[in-house]
């Protein structure tokens, strides 16, 4: 009854897509309008924190190897830290704007973890390709929340931050456990799925 890895990726993709849509809307209308309704201010930080919490069962139930466990655990912690810091800032419990830097940190930790725990080359199979692509996306994409932390009114940095989550969602939706990428799949990868 336990879902295959690709289903988990698709569920998290949906979470990241919603997160990206909320961030994009906030970047467009500005913080003042977005926070006019109190619950909305907590929406995306709460979603990020929740996804961090939900990463723990992924860590426990999808322990293919020690490095998988470490990678999933580090994502869980990084997402909870970033989501929790943003919740604290919205609530007013945290005052320093430097807490926004937990988000680029989460990007860097996540990107590094996803690159490190992928044992195969880019064209081994679609999952391997996507792991490499997502890892580098997160590392390169860290520039957006980093810059947005110092230029909070910049529509460019904030939109880039939001779109990084949307692209992450799209890439996660593309995941298949064993499937070719660009028509190529390693003979050692296993039987391709549709």
């Amino acid at each position: 009854m336990q879902p295959a890895a690709e289903f988990v990726h698709w569920m998290f993709a949906t979470g990241f897509l919603l997160l990206g849509l909320c961030l994009l809307a906030q970047a467009v209308v500005g913080d003042e309008v977005w926070r006019r309704r109190r619950w909305r201010a907590y929406l995306w930080p709460g979603l990020a924190f929740l996804m961090g919490v939900l990463m723990w069962p992924v860590m426990v139930l999808y322990t293919n190897s020690t490095i998988h466990m470490v990678a999933h655990g580090s994502w869980a912690q990084a997402m909870m830290l970033a989501g929790g810091a943003e919740l604290g800032l919205v609530r007013g419990k945290l005052k320093s704007s430097y807490w926004h830097l937990t988000m680029p940190l989460a990007f860097l930790v996540s990107g590094t973890a996803i690159l490190v725990h992928e044992q195969n080359g880019w064209l081994f199979a679609r999952a391997a390709f996507l792991h490499h692509l997502i890892g580098w996306l997160m590392i390169a994409g860290a520039i957006f929340p980093f810059a947005a932390a110092f230029r909070p009114r910049s529509a460019v940095w904030r939109s880039g931050f939001a779109l990084a989550f949307v692209v992450l969602g799209v890439l996660l939706y593309c995941d298949r456990d064993v499937a070719p990428i660009f028509g190529h799949i390693s003979a050692q990868a296993g039987t391709p799925h549709r």
């Binding site: 009854m1 879902p3 295959a4 289903f7 698709w10 569920m11 993709a13 949906t14 897509l17 919603l18 849509l21 909320c22 994009l24 809307a25 467009v28 209308v29 003042e32 309008v33 977005w34 006019r36 309704r37 909305r40 929406l43 939706y173 549709r194």
Partner: protein, 71 residues
């Protein structure tokens, strides 16, 4: 712009479903397990668009109009 985010997301899911109809397991459910029937990526994209369009966007648009009216 805000009003288009949800429909654009929904449209993305629908276009994806037409491009890769084999990803919609509900179209050929015989012999499929629970997860293949419950979690179908293009439908999840449409659902995300619906959630944003109906639960989040209306309030944001209302508040944006109120802000512009100086209320």
């Amino acid at each position: 712009m805000i009003g288009t985010l949800g429909p654009a997301t929904m449209l993305g899911g629908v276009v994806w479903a037409f491009l890769q109809p084999y990803r919609i397991t509900l179209l050929h459910p015989h012999g499929q397990g629970f997860w293949w029937l419950a979690i179908e990526a293009p439908i999840l994209v449409v659902l995300a668009g619906i959630a944003f369009a109906f639960l989040i966007a209306p309030g944001v648009i209302e508040d944006l109009e109120a802000e512009e009216d100086g209320r």
